[in-house]
Symmetry: C2
Subunit: 217 residues, 2 copies
DNA sequence: GACGTTTTAGACAATGGTGTCTAGTTTTAC
DNA sequence: GTAAAACTAGACACCATTGTCTAAAACGTC
């Protein structure tokens, strides 16, 4: 028998290879043989660890989601409690967000697989939605609420603003992210700058009275 | 032999059914048998019209692209030459755009198939990019240039503004479009209104001096 | 070094797909 | 009405894939 949780090297290697092959070929197009040989492992070993293809696929999705979730959490909590120069802070934050959560390998995997296999596995789609976009959305909304309360922004609907912020950041990256090309640092920064500039034009507080240094909430 | 261009009913029926099945199952997951029976046609007929599966797939993509392209053109040229109330005109335009070109069946098909099979058929992806997003982008940029010239907007970078406009319109619809659910009229209108409001806040001309009725350019 | 576990390579049946072929039927055109 | 074209249903060979099984090899641990 196999210790389900003892993440021996083979198990990880299989997960990794499976993610790559599933992402490139889709569920139906990926063959266990290809995954096994990409993982430098015999086919039988794959079947030993994950009873069947469906099972392996679910394990891969779960694994990628866990990683993406941890990354998302750490990125979201990286916004400074007391922003010094709002525009720069937001731009840097946008760069980190796209780099760590959108344009990375896991982000690509989830977008692609959820979209193409979501109809076949509805609960997969639902899980992704709850853990991915939903969580980003509420966290961003909370951030903008905080900034509005401090007088640094003038946002009326926090949820709409959150979605728009994400959409703006993605605006210049969509082509790259769709094709799977990871944009360069320069592209990321330019995209973030464009996005933040428009966002602040629309939602910036009119009086640029540099916040009267409220004590951290 | 078969008249390649004589679009007999069977041919169309096959194209239609194939689009549906390819979209639902992906290329690898779709079987000719399923397509044939969905089209109420024998398998042999499919092979008579389209020599092989690859060929059929290409024909479907081409067909959908042509339709989407025509629809895009007619929608883009529907923006009034002399806008009366910019915000309302832009909102109505955004609704038409999402309704006719993004949230419809063809839009869903293209997004899904290009994303999941784009890596296998690079020229497919390239073609879609040229005919879809690229074309929308340049057309919108031209529109914003025109509006800026008339003093109705204050846009510095037309291309960036075009991408941002599209991104904002999509912001509230992404979940629906990803899942394949066609949003209701109400949702479309609310999404358009949110998008246009933010867009005009960012790019609206400061002096709301109702354009001095320049002769149509 | 011996034992149990894990891994391997390969054979294997079962399944389901593609693409071809044939023989018979329907549709279309003249 | 008749002949050609298009279509159907089914059988078919061929191949790839899934998932099982076995016997041998590698590994780790005591």
């Amino acid at each position: 028998m196999h210790s389900q949780r003892g993440q021996c090297a083979k198990r990880l290697s299989i997960l990794e290879a499976a993610a790559e092959v599933f992402c490139r070929q889709g569920f139906a197009g990926a063959s266990i043989d290809e995954i096994a040989s990409a993982a430098c492992v015999s086919r039988q070993t794959v079947y030993n660890h994950y009873r069947e293809k469906d099972n392996l696929f679910m394990a891969v999705v779960e694994d990628v989601m866990d990683r993406a979730n941890a990354m998302l959490f750490s990125t979201l909590s990286s916004f400074p409690e007391i922003p010094e120069r709002l525009e720069d802070d937001l731009a840097a934050f946008a760069v980190r967000l796209s780099q760590n959560c959108i344009c990375n390998q896991d982000g690509k995997f989830l977008r692609k697989l959820v979209l193409s296999e979501g109809e076949r596995y509805p609960h997969l789609f639902e899980g992704w939605r709850q853990h991915g976009p939903r969580k980003i959305g509420t966290a961003l909304a909370a951030l903008f609420a905080r900034l509005s309360y401090k007088g640094l922004l003038q946002v009326d609907d926090f949820d709409v603003a959150a979605r728009q912020f994400l959409a703006l950041v993605n605006a210049d990256l969509q082509m790259s992210t769709l094709f799977g090309v990871t944009p360069t640092e320069v592209e990321l920064e330019s995209a973030a700058r464009n996005a933040v500039r428009t966002f602040i034009r629309a939602y910036g507080a009119p009086a640029q009275a540099n916040a009267p240094a409220l004590p951290a909430v």
